[in-house]
Structures are given as structure tokens and as C-alpha cells.
């Protein structure tokens, strides 16, 4: 590539090559995460009244460039690449010398129209999707210096985490991590837990994530169960050619309780972590490996946590049109269980109604060990521009042990669950000259759970349950003049413990209509979620009451519709807005039986409707970017039996996110502000508890020089003390310094 570039330079600018009193300029073009920007355009110009173009060249596959025969004196070097802000700088060239000039390019959120792969299970431009999609870029993840993916996704428009449970437009509420209504994918492979149906956000090392695609609204027509409220797809980084390595170290501290009466320890809590990754690519083979560990003292009583992780990936491209990909990851967490906080009388409460930093003494000593891992084999082949197919096999394993030293017989002093989920999928995408794209596929999964808490045995014994899922789907997109029309459906067949088959059909249709200033989109589809094995068979003990299984639990389902528009009237402004409507029935919620036992039941008819919009502006040229995102959510439980219509629990009506970033040369500063309004309805299980909205300000600063980068983050800078889940204190002000070196 370098030879070709020099040849182009020599042909176009022979005078420059033949010049006298000249030097050379060399350097590397990288992004803010330190990775090479291939094929960036590098232009060298002289200055002054007789300014002229000296040379144009392209950065190599490693991101390096070299321009020879540059006239001595001050010259301008400008670098540009699609999807990045351009960079320009002056340098002084000395005759006979080589000047090194490295460039860092920042991703441009406005000028870049990304390609996405999740909304239609194939590549398409963002503006071609029939539903709303939010993207979290690698740069955003890097700038926020987060340790787990959920910390980065939390600020995406329309997304909110409640004690680790993800809500897309209020989809899940809070059910103690059971039965997520959002499907997690890792490179397109389903990764929700086989037992609880929840999500392990630390399954993939955050440093390995290239970007996150958040597809909003029902995704059941392509992804089946769990995609009731949306899909989150973690796209991992591409493996580059050559040898690369990265070292990332973090250290931070938690603020002490702001009120003396809440004090619980006589030292300041810290957290630290170390991650390393390396990759090598040559010819048709590429491989990468990453490992890391971190420790946290936590910000409240009994909150210490240790985490270890390792991941690996290999790629083989036997021919240009074919790619074989093997990937896997393993993570282990050992942590103290800090929830719920201490209410009056449940600890040394100092006469307070609640002690948010202390725990109920009945939970003293509770710990959890959680291990999880996955392995995926994926083959993709694109024999022509008209056809592509892929096939994958995957295995996800989760295992946890909860230890309760204060528990008394007959209840076991520990709960455990071991779950495996084996999956396979084959997919075919065809494209015709008539503008028709058809995606068809089949999918199968087998889950097994061995557990004493999800056994269905009300005496507390262990047991094993299995769930088999089979599915077929097809979706077609047809270009009709300016319109793109999409129609498809998926059929899911489910059996529990080898019993009878339950079938669901989830159709979906949509239209995309591009105009001069933007794009309209509309869609309607069916959503469904089968109950997790945990919801069916949970048997445990809480608040002195037995939690009993409900093997007859049915799937919850609904219809969701959306009308949206994206627009970009001027190059520095881009917006997106959507009104959405979901009618759901048989929502699964915990209920109290007449015999005072707690059981998951099909309870609610619900309606979730609202407005989800965001605007991004680059206000001062390329240096400042601001984003405003607003979600208005009207989440209602509809009237049934003797229950009147009322607000759904754990859904704020207003969710506002403001983001601002400023960068100048190698320095950047930024802020995120998240406001969520107070819940309209108090959880009847916690009637006297305080209840506030959330107002959290995160600040960040970064500095990069060559391969070195440093990020300073102050999360919850105002040390706003609040809770979103019952009796679970949200993180206090946390200051973190992250330093990374990329080779």
C-alpha cells in the first residue's frame, strides 16, 4: 500500500519529488482508542501566498504513512477519513530530516451513517431499519472508562438500568434480575442465562467491545423469546493484521457517606483493575486473547467484589468470501451481597428510619460466587453479492452459589444453580437486482438447569429441568420506488421437560420512506417472552414466606408499534424521534397467594406508550458535540378483576440524558447528565420507603499521546444519594483513573 501511495505521489507531483532542500514527514494515524485507521487520506500543503499541494497519500493497513520530498519550512498536514473528524496541523520540516507527526482521529457521530447488523439480522444502513436503533461506539465506551458494558449502555437514549436490570423504553421494570424482557447478543449469539433468563453484563470484557447496537421495540419476529422489549448486541472488535497488544489499568475510590450518621467504615473504599489483550494476524489467520481482574471494596457495607475474566478468539479466512470464527469467554465473580439496605431495627440504625449504607443484619455474611462462560463457532460465507449464509453453534454456561450463613434449617445454607444453554442457527440472505432482500433461518436451543432453588421441589431439594426451543423465521424487504417495505414472521416451538409443545407465531411488518431531509419509518410486530425456568420452578424463602413454583406459567405476549423519523437538516445536526405503543398481556409478576406464599403469575395487561427522541449537534465545528435524549413513558397496568388502572412499577415517566464532549488536540473533556423522574407508584411491598428520582452527573477527561491514553472519570460527581430498586443504594461518587497503552 505504501509503495502504491508513493507511486501516486510521484506521478501526480513530480515537481515535489524532484525538489531541493526537502525533508520527509512520517507518522501513524490512529483513533482515540489507539487502533490504526487504515486508508486515511494524508495531505501535505505548503503555507503562504504561494501555497501549493505537495502530496496526497493514504495510511497503510497499520495506519502509518510517509511523505518524502517535502519542501523545508512550515507545512500543513491534514488527515481525513470517512466517519472521523478531519485533523489539520502545521509542522516544521528541516532539509534532510524526517519529522514524525502522529495523528489521533475522533469518531464523528454526525457525519457517519453507520452500518448495523442487528435490526434485520443482516447488514444494513442505520436509516434503513424499520425500528429505532441506538448505537454506543467504541469511543464512547473508551471515554467513559467503564468496567462493564452496562455502564456504557446505561446512557444510551431510551435505556435505563435498575440495579443491573436493563429497561428499553421501560420494558422490564425490576424483577430481581429474573426474566429479562431484553435479549443480549454477543456478536449475534443469544447470551441470556439458561436458568434465570437474565443477563451477565460482565461476560464480555469491555475493552473487547467494538460497539453496541440497541434495537428498541419487539424483536421477537427475528429473535423469539426474551426480545420482548428489545435487543442489545455486543459487537466485539475486529482482529487486525500484525501484532498488537494493549494494557489497561484502572484505579479509583468511592466517596464516603455524605452524612456522618450513615458512616459504616473508617477507611475509604477503593477499586482497581488490570486488563491485558494481545492479537496477531497474518495471512488468513488471526487470533486474539484477553485477560483481566479487578477488585472493589464497594461503596456500602458488605459490598466487596472480585472479578476475573479471560477471553479468546480466532479467525480463519480460507478464501476471501469465507470466514470461520471461534470465540469464547469466561468470567468469575466472588462478591459479598449487600442488599437490601437496613430499615429501622434491622441493624445498628442510630435511631434512623433507614441506613442506606448498612445492611440488614439478617443478611450478614451472605456471599455469591458466579461463574459464566460461552463458546461460539461461526461460519459465514458470501459467495457472491447476491447470496450469503452463516451457521453457528454456541454453548453458554452459568453457575452460581449463594451462601447464607445465617440461614436456619430446614432451608439450605446455600442455593446453587448450574445452567447450560446449547444453541445453533443457520441463516441465508439473498439479494436480488429487483431490490428484494430475503433473510431466512432456523434456530434451535436446549437449556438444562440443575439447582436447589429452581428445582420446583417445595421441600428445598435439588432437581433438574430442561427446555427445548425450535424456531424458523423469514423476512423479506422489497424496494418499491422510494419505499422499503419489510414483512416477516417467526415461529417458535417450546417444550419443557419433554412435555407438550407450545407454539408462538410472531409476525412483523414495516416501511421506510427516505425524504430529502431525513427518513420516516413505521413498524408493527408481535412480542412474546416464554417464562424462564427460574420463574416456573423457583422455590425459596423470602421475608419469612415461602416462594413457590408455578409450572403452569404461560408466556407473556403483546403487540408493539412505532412511528419514527430521523433527520439531518444540516451537516452538524442529526435527530431521531419515535412514538411507540405496546399492548401487553399476561405479564409475569410476583404475586401473593391466599395462603401467603409468593408465586410468579400471569397477572397484568399493560400498555407502554410514549416518545423517544434525541438530537445530536456539533455546535462549534468539530470540537464540541452535544446530545440531548428524552424518553416520555406512559406505562400503565390496565384494569382487571378488582384492580383499577394504575402505573406500572419501576417505570419513570421522564428520562432525560444530556451529553457534552469537547476535544482539542489530544485533550478531551465531557459530561453526562441523567435525570429520571420519581416512580408514580410505590411498591406495595415497601410502602414507607423513601422514593426519589435520579439526577446523576458524570464528568470525564482524557489525554492521549502516542500509544498512551489516560481517562479520568468522576461518576455521580454531585454524590447524589438515591435508589432505583427497593432498598438498593445506587453508586455514590466514584473517581476512577484509567491508563491504557496500545502497541
Amino acid at each position: 500500500m505504501r509503495t502504491a501511495a508513493l507511486l501516486v505521489t510521484a506521478v501526480l507531483f513530480p515537481a515535489a519529488i524532484a525538489g531541493q532542500g526537502s525533508g520527509s514527514v512520517t507518522g501513524a494515524v490512529r483513533d482515540t482508542a489507539g487502533l490504526a485507521v487504515r486508508q486515511a487520506r494524508v495531505r501535505v500543503r505548503t503555507m503562504g501566498p504561494a501555497a501549493r499541494l505537495v502530496a496526497i497519500t493514504m495510511a497503510s493497513a497499520e495506519g502509518t504513512y510517509r511523505v518524502d520530498s517535502v519542501p523545508a519550512g512550515r507545512v500543513i498536514v491534514d488527515v481525513a477519513m470517512i466517519g472521523y473528524f478531519p485533523d489539520a496541523d502545521t509542522i516544521d520540516v528541516t532539509a534532510g530530516q524526517t519529522v514524525t507527526h502522529d495523528v489521533r482521529l475522533r469518531l464523528s457521530p454526525v457525519t457517519l451513517l453507520p452500518t448495523i447488523v442487528t435490526a434485520a439480522k443482516r447488514s444494513q444502513l442505520l436509516d434503513q431499519a424499520i425500528t429505532s436503533v441506538s448505537l454506543v461506539s467504541r469511543e464512547a465506551i473508551s471515554a467513559r472508562a467503564v468496567n462493564t458494558v452496562d455502564e456504557a449502555v446505561d446512557k444510551a437514549p431510551g435505556v435505563q438500568f435498575i440495579n443491573g436490570q436493563v429497561n428499553i423504553r421501560g420494558s422490564s421494570g425490576f424483577v430481581e434480575g429474573l426474566g429479562s424482557r431484553v435479549l443480549l447478543l454477543v456478536d449475534g449469539v443469544p447470551a441470556n442465562q439458561g436458568d434465570r433468563g437474565g443477563i451477565n453484563w460482565d461476560l464480555v470484557p469491555v475493552d473487547q467491545v467494538q460497539r453496541v447496537e440497541v434495537v428498541k421495540g419487539a424483536g421477537s419476529a427475528l429473535y423469539g423469546s426474551s426480545a420482548f422489549g428489545g435487543v442489545v448486541n455486543l459487537i466485539t472488535r475486529e482482529l487486525p493484521t500484525g501484532a498488537h497488544a494493549r494494557l489497561r489499568a484502572t484505579a479509583g475510590m468511592f466517596a464516603d457517606p455524605p452524612q456522618q450518621v450513615w458512616g459504616f467504615r473508617d477507611y475509604t473504599g477503593i477499586q482497581d483493575g488490570l486488563d491485558v489483550s494481545a492479537s496477531y494476524g497474518h495471512g488468513t489467520m488471526r487470533a486474539g486473547f484477553a485477560a483481566g481482574a479487578r477488585h472493589s471494596d464497594g461503596y456500602r457495607e458488605q459490598d466487596k467484589a472480585d472479578h476475573w475474566q479471560a477471553s479468546g478468539r480466532g479467525e480463519w479466512r480460507p478464501e476471501p468470501a469465507m470466514l470461520v470464527n471461534l470465540s469464547g469467554a469466561w468470567a468469575s465473580d466472588q462478591y459479598q451481597v449487600p442488599e437490601p439496605w437496613c430499615a429501622s431495627g434491622q441493624c445498628a440504625d442510630s435511631g434512623q428510619g433507614f441506613q442506606p449504607f448498612r445492611i440488614d443484619t439478617a443478611n450478614r455474611g451472605n456471599t455469591t460466587r458466579s461463574d459464566k462462560g460461552y463458546f461460539t463457532a461461526l461460519v459465514t460465507r458470501t459467495p457472491s453479492a447476491r447470496i450469503a449464509w452463516s451457521a453457528r453453534l454456541s454453548w453458554l454456561r452459568t453457575r452460581f452459589t449463594d451462601v447464607y450463613p445465617e440461614r436456619q434449617p430446614p432451608f439450605a445454607p446455600a442455593d446453587f444453580s448450574v445452567a447450560n444453554r446449547y444453541g445453533g442457527e443457520a441463516r441465508l440472505v439473498t439479494r436480488r437486482d429487483t431490490g428484494q432482500i430475503v433473510t431466512v433461518g432456523v434456530e434451535a436451543a436446549h437449556s438444562d438447569v440443575t439447582s436447589n432453588v429452581f428445582s420446583g421441589d417445595t421441600t428445598g431439594g435439588g432437581g433438574r429441568h430442561m427446555q427445548d426451543e425450535y424456531a424458523a423465521y423469514a423476512e423479506a424487504e422489497q424496494v418499491m420506488g422510494p419505499l422499503r417495505a419489510t414483512l416477516g414472521a417467526r415461529g417458535d416451538f417450546l417444550t419443557i421437560d419433554g412435555g407438550g409443545v407450545t407454539a408462538f407465531v410472531s409476525p412483523r411488518g414495516g416501511l421506510v420512506w427516505p425524504t430529502r431531509s431525513g427518513t420516516w419509518r413505521a413498524s408493527i410486530g408481535r412480542a412474546y417472552r416464554a417464562p424462564s425456568l427460574a420463574e416456573r420452578f423457583v422455590t425459596t424463602y423470602a421475608l419469612g414466606f415461602r416462594v413457590i413454583p408455578n409450572p403452569a406459567l404461560r408466556a407473556e405476549d403483546g403487540w408493539t408499534a412505532e412511528l419514527g423519523r430521523s433527520w439531518s437538516p444540516v451537516p452538524w445536526l442529526r435527530g431521531d424521534a419515535a412514538i411507540f405503543w405496546t399492548e401487553a398481556r399476561d405479564l409475569i409478576e410476583p404475586a401473593t397467594t391466599p395462603s401467603l406464599q409468593i408465586q410468579f403469575q400471569n397477572l397484568q395487561r399493560a400498555r407502554l406508550a410514549g416518545l423517544d427522541c434525541n438530537v445530536t449537534a456539533m455546535s462549534f465545528g468539530p470540537h464540541v458535540t452535544t446530545t440531548v435524549a428524552y424518553l416520555y413513558l406512559d406505562a400503565r397496568e390496565l384494569a382487571h378483576d378488582t384492580v383499577p388502572e394504575r402505573a406500572l412499577l419501576y417505570r419513570p415517566r421522564h428520562l432525560v440524558t444530556l451529553t457534552a464532549d469537547y476535544s482539542w488536540r489530544s485533550v478531551g473533556v465531557g459530561a453526562d447528565l441523567r435525570y429520571s423522574s420519581r416512580y408514580e407508584r410505590q411498591d406495595p411491598l415497601f410502602p414507607g420507603d423513601p422514593q426519589l428520582g435520579g439526577k446523576v452527573l458524570d464528568l470525564r477527561a482524557s489525554w492521549t499521546t502516542g500509544p498512551l491514553e489516560a481517562h479520568l472519570k468522576v461518576a455521580n460527581a454531585l454524590n447524589y444519594i438515591y435508589n432505583l430498586a427497593p432498598r438498593v443504594l445506587e453508586p455514590v461518587r466514584t473517581t476512577t483513573l484509567t491508563v491504557a497503552y496500545t502497541y
Partner: protein
Amino acid sequence: MPRTSRGLWCLLTAAVAAACNEGLKPQTVCPAGFQGICGSVTFRGALPESTDVVYVVAYATFPQSQSDLFNFQPLPPPTLGLDSAARTRSQPYALPLPNGTYHWVLAAWKKQGALSQQNADTLLREAGFYKNPADTTKPGLVVVNGAATGIDFVVDFSNMHPVSYYFP
């Protein structure tokens, strides 16, 4: 500066100012505006080894049978701190309740084990109740209209009774 950008920056500044609002604050057991019953309990006797938990509950009407036992409020009921330090001093409690009249405010000791309607009388014991100041052999009536304070009583682990003891 373009008008849109100026607007966004004004919005951001206003939002940051609004975020300077305070979050949760220390709150006494019976804060201003509380609705329900507040008081304190003092302890007597040795804590039985089989103790699981001690609840404080209120009944709008005195339970007449075992089926009435679960008509208590609030749900879930608050519990008392039982470590030795907590039992050496008077312990405040608060029951968030709707306005109304409550005929029995008591501490219910629970033995270890899973509670059900069938075994309630086996696992639960009355460990102390708010007494009528005029006749301390009888439960005291509590009228809640906002916060009813000073509802103090003794929890005596050496003098507990099955709840059925009080059925007519």
C-alpha cells in the same frame, strides 16, 4: 454560535443546576409527614435460640380465628433488631399504615421455619403488645390520623403466647 447549540448548552447548564438538588437525607424513624404508628419497644427475657425474626404488626380488628391472623398490616411487616446491642436499649419502630383505628398493635415472634396459614399458630407467638393505659390487661386502641406517636410497649421473650390464646 448557532441557535440550536446555544439552546442545548442552556439546557445542559440548567439541568446541571437542577441536579445540585439533594438526594436522600437522614430520616428519623418517624419523620415529618409520616402516616402510621410510631413508638418504641423495650426487651425483657432471653432471646430463644429458635428465633427467626420478630415482626411488629397492627390489626384493624382483633383476630377472631386463625384465618384472621394474616389480616395484619403493613405487608411486609417491619422487623426488630435482635442482636444483643439492639436489645439492651429502647428500640424505635414505625408502622406505615392508612388512617383508621387499630385494635391490636403487637410484636409477633416467629420461630425458624417456612410460614403458612396452616402452621401459623405453631410458628408465631405474641411477644408483647401496646396496652390500654387505663386497663393494662387489655390491648390499647390506636387511632391513626397522620402519625400516632408514643405507642410504646414491652417485648417479653419469657412471656409469649400462641396467638390462638387470644381467640374468643
